[in-house]
């Protein structure tokens, strides 16, 4: 363990090493490329592989393939690159492949202002996939959280056999901070469950008593079927409604029913809170200061920073905000995640505070907007 002073991007690269990253596949894109550069320098020294592919489609497919060889794998990209990756990420969903995708949001749509920040892609991070299933999305706000949540992203992906999106943005990417860096062996690391039956009895998509099937990798003596078609527990194509039902509900339930365990947030000034400023990612720094300003002006404001955006833990969010008069959802887009919370918090007054800014929304601006509603 050591204390370092690094950017959010470097913290993600360090976190991935601590979590046991063995294979990084990527295609450079602002503002993620320094993750790639750092890993290209450091990962081979630790026996891992870093490969630049011809584009993002190849990168994500390579990362998925490496995972089936039992190498913990990751890629990092931004909006345009993630758009290219979503088809393959649906493959990862149905084949239940653990893989971590770092999504560093920048100002969009399209090329937008590629060096600057925004939170326009928060819904794409989980709804961008075809197939209508949920993928866990974790959102750090500081370099320390970037390190910690990267480790967590790997653990969640291994435990649930799913792609996990680590949703950062250009502001966090280039923010420096004090980070407690832990080395491999100094963090809790989850490994995918391996089959306990002999190879002749192994059924690659049989979850047994739970919802997540043990995963044999290539080269371990098991027959491994990586099947993108609707498949039964043996991994055989089965174009039948009963099989599709069983598969879809299991894939859905294994993520959604993990919501309580995945739920993670930070809160400040909760005592007697009547005005909650809810945010995520870099914008939650603006709301943290805004809540402090509102408190100093006599409002009973608090700040809540969601670190898990999907799956949405509805009960947990309701409990957290129970009794709060007004809930303001502050984000650097047109008010996207607000739609998620509005549905969850029926009964409370939920107000969208969309502040579009190439950097961080200024706390003063947040305060002024919120005060119009108080």
């Amino acid at each position: 363990m050591r204390v370092d002073y690094v950017t959010g991007n470097t913290a993600i690269a360090l976190g991935s090493i601590a979590a046991g990253l063995r294979f990084y596949a990527g295609y450079p894109i602002t503002p993620t490329s320094d993750i790639f550069e750092f890993l290209a320098r450091e990962l081979p020294k630790r026996g891992g592989y870093v490969v630049q592919f011809e584009d993002e489609i190849a990168s994500i497919n390579a990362a998925i393939g490496a995972s089936w060889a039992c190498a913990k794998s990751m890629t990092a990209t931004s909006g345009p690159g993630f758009s290219l990756m979503v088809e393959a990420l649906s493959l990862a969903v149905i084949t239940e492949t653990p893989v971590v995708v770092v999504y560093v949001m920048r100002t969009g749509p399209s090329t937008g202002v590629p060096t600057r920040s925004g939170q326009y892609d928060v819904l794409q991070a989980t709804y961008g996939f075809h197939g209508g299933l949920v993928v866990p999305v974790l959102a750090p706000a500081t370099p320390q959280e970037a390190f910690d949540l990267t480790v967590r992203a790997f653990n969640v992906s291994e435990k649930l056999r799913t792609p996990v999106v680590l949703l950062s943005d250009a502001t966090i990417a280039h923010t420096y901070g004090r980070v407690v860096v832990r080395e491999p062996g100094e963090v809790e690391v989850v490994e995918r469950a391996k089959p306990s039956v002999p190879p002749e009895k192994y059924r690659p998509y049989d979850p047994g008593e739970g919802l997540v099937p043990p995963m044999a990798c290539f080269g371990e003596g098991y027959n491994v079927l990586v099947e993108s078609l609707t498949h039964d527990e043996r991994g055989y194509y089965a174009p039948r409604s009963d099989v599709q039902r069983r598969l879809m509900w299991r894939l859905y339930r294994k993520i959604v029913e993990s919501a309580p365990e995945l739920f993670d947030y930070g809160a400040a000034y909760l005592d007697g809170c009547d005005v909650a400023l809810v945010s995520y990612g870099s914008t939650s720094l603006s709301t943290l200061v805004a809540a402090k300003i509102l408190r100093s002006e006599g409002y009973r404001a608090c700040s809540i920073r969601l670190r898990t955006l999907f799956p949405v833990y509805e009960e947990g969010i309701r409990r957290l905000l129970n009794g709060v008069g007004k809930v303001f959802v502050v984000e650097n887009n047109v008010g996207l995640y607000y739609r998620e919370l509005r549905g969850v918090l029926r009964g409370s007054e939920v107000v969208s505070v969309p502040i579009i800014d190439l950097d961080l929304p200024q706390p003063r601006e947040v305060v002024e907007v919120v005060k119009q509603w108080l």
């Binding site: 002073y5 370099p143 420096y176 004090r178 943290l288 950097d359 961080l360």
Partner: protein
């Protein structure tokens, strides 16, 4: 305790290096929490360079990455003093490079006006270490970080051939 530090100057004056060394020294050699951000222009020389640091003794107080009212500032050029003086609050400790600053606004600051660039050229033969002369002055006057910590960070940050002159420049005000 929560302190905002603003470091500003023109591209080429070593502003980002100064900010990085100070930030790293705070992170590694004090018990304080810190967040920081950088602004720089596309030009190699002459553009706007700025580092914002938010330092606090409790993690939740290191809550932002932009200076809203600096308690401590180093400003190395008149252009940035004109542009950013509104970000420096009354009562702040302000270090100005007299070699490049000609007009100091009438504010309730505690001002240290020293010719950092001229000192660097005269004493160390290069204006490139003016940033370290200024940093040494800040450390001397504010005791924000232990000088040994800063020197350690200089050793691990700057190219080998430049370590010695940077450390000597850093010590200029500390040894007076």
């Amino acid at each position: 305790m929560r302190i905002e530090v603003l470091i500003a100057g023109r591209g080429g004056q070593g502003i980002l290096l100064l900010g990085h060394i100070l930030g790293r020294a705070v992170a590694k050699y004090t018990n304080l929490y810190i967040l920081g951000s950088e602004i720089y222009a596309a030009e190699t020389r002459g553009g706007d360079s700025r580092v914002d640091l938010v330092i606090a003794d409790r993690e939740e107080e290191a809550d932002f990455i932009k200076v809203m009212g600096a308690d401590i500032a180093i400003v190395m050029h008149q252009l940035q003093l004109d542009a950013y003086s509104h970000l420096i609050k009354d009562g702040a400790v302000v270090f100005l490079d007299r070699s490049n600053v000609t007009s100091v606004p009438q504010r309730k600051w505690r001002v240290f006006l020293e010719p950092y660039t001229d000192i660097a050229e005269r004493e160390f033969g290069t204006p490139r270490v003016a940033n370290m002369v200024a940093l040494g002055h800040l450390v001397r006057q504010t005791s924000l970080v232990p000088p040994e910590g800063v020197e350690e960070v200089i050793r691990e940050t700057v190219p080998k051939d430049w370590v010695d002159v940077n450390i000597r420049a850093f010590r200029y005000f500390l040894s007076r």
